[in-house]
Symmetry: C2
Subunit: 266 residues, 2 copies
């Protein structure tokens, strides 16, 4: 499966309206899930190599609108990895101590160590998204922050971290349906946050802020716009990108410093 079409090219500002939210790759749910399962079995093996090698890291950044599927990707894609090698960080509204520092301070502390797969469920990009939409920062600050983000990500990638940034792209109708489901199904009530409706009222401002954020796509830290109306297609595409990336990183089992044939266990 080819995923290049979902990748945001470096140095180009895109228009999200031109990117499909409802692609399905010509597959149905059942077939897609089987394919995803096959990919994830391979991901599990590649993760072990990454973990054993301890020379490189993978950082997965998840961004989306409310009900866009961030938690679903953690559950259904990230959940297929061995938790021993995972470092998951969910970034909420910053607390007082975090606000007393630059916006990358708390993020940097959660960067994955060598051998690890880090997952940011929301990320430093919130600091140019929600903050920008609600005028907590002005355009000049947002622009400066985007530049700080580019430098920060270059620091990580220069140290052996591959960064994959996923924007889970859903339509306004799909979001409406998912929010309505949370109201209609008692088992999902706890997921509903009345504040999400306020963000929904600012749909086009968020689109604009995301389009700015997506300009930070580089070869070392690419953005992917994932068609996410179909959850099973979203999971398939992300699994494929993860596998392609891990294979390209090509971690190797470390050379051993002992001769197995010479060791006798008493």
């Amino acid at each position: 499966m080819k995923t290049d079409a979902y990748r945001v090219k470096e140095g180009k500002k895109i228009k999200l309206a031109q990117w499909a939210t409802d692609e399905d790759g010509g597959l149905d749910e059942k077939d897609a899930k089987l394919l995803t399962k096959e990919l994830q079995d391979k991901l599990f093996d590649w993760q072990e190599r990454l973990y054993a090698e301890r020379q490189q890291s993978l950082l997965i950044v998840l961004q989306a609108r409310d009900a866009g599927g961030k938690d679903g990707v953690v559950k259904h894609v990230v959940g297929s990895f061995n938790p021993n090698g995972l470092h998951i960080s969910s970034f909420k509204v910053p607390n007082e101590e975090e606000l007393a520092h630059d916006f990358l301070w708390r993020i940097h502390a959660q960067a994955p160590g060598k051998g690890m797969i880090g997952v940011f469920n929301r990320s430093h990009y919130e600091d140019v998204l929600v903050t920008r939409v609600y005028d907590m920062i002005d355009g000049k600050t947002a622009k400066a922050r985007l530049q700080h983000i580019r430098h920060f990500e270059a620091l990580l990638s220069g140290n052996g971290t591959r960064i994959l940034k996923f924007y889970l792209h859903i339509s306004p109708d799909e979001q409406k349906q998912r929010l309505q489901d949370r109201l209609d199904e008692p088992g999902k009530h706890w997921k509903f946050n009345p504040g999400d409706l306020k963000d929904r009222d600012h749909w086009s401002q968020f689109t604009s802020a995301y389009q700015d954020a997506l300009t930070t796509s580089t070869s070392d830290a690419p953005w992917y716009v994932i068609p996410a109306d179909h959850k099973w297609y979203r999971d398939l595409v992300i699994s494929q990108i993860l596998l392609d990336t891990l294979m390209d990183m090509n971690p190797k089992y470390p050379k051993i410093t002992f001769d197995p044939a010479e060791i006798r266990i008493k």
Copy 2:
């Protein structure tokens, strides 16, 4: 399935030699794995309640000798949880800053927040095990540390954290076989650490140190001695204890503060 027999009673010092390592519950591997899968599907649902409720935490402490199966439990049992609600900590040899503090300082920082399941892959117990066996601390210090551990665990449990401590109990022969496998199979070489053989030479001293550590078993923070020669039985017993514990904690979906029928999504 009953698991009480594996629980260390409060106020009693046990002799590990009297606890079986090779129990299989009269099951074979295939049946045990099916049962484990059923339990884990239930665990996944109970974890969601715990996460949604955000009032309690569960802390799983894993201790074992080398090749005892700590990583296996994380992979095969903990791996069945939703990673969104997991906080996994692997404690290695303490670094300079950690050594400049009391031994619980770095541990406390990793305690699971409300709604979360924390996993300690090794733990504060190393500070009364490996340190004691190699005479880095004396008996008096070890005794004082055990008392500090009791107080620390009481602090966590008083704040809504249930603590489950698992000692994965394997025989010397089983350890020998597992270490030999790591030498014989190139794909497992990276797991072999020549230093493990030194610990093996101190088998009985470790037994003695573990027996002291296991005296910290209380109703709020019980120790379980898990028969771990059969990996599939180990995973089944732990899954059952986790499920019984979560059901006993009985987390509930939170009451909502809005009327779903009154909300209109535009």
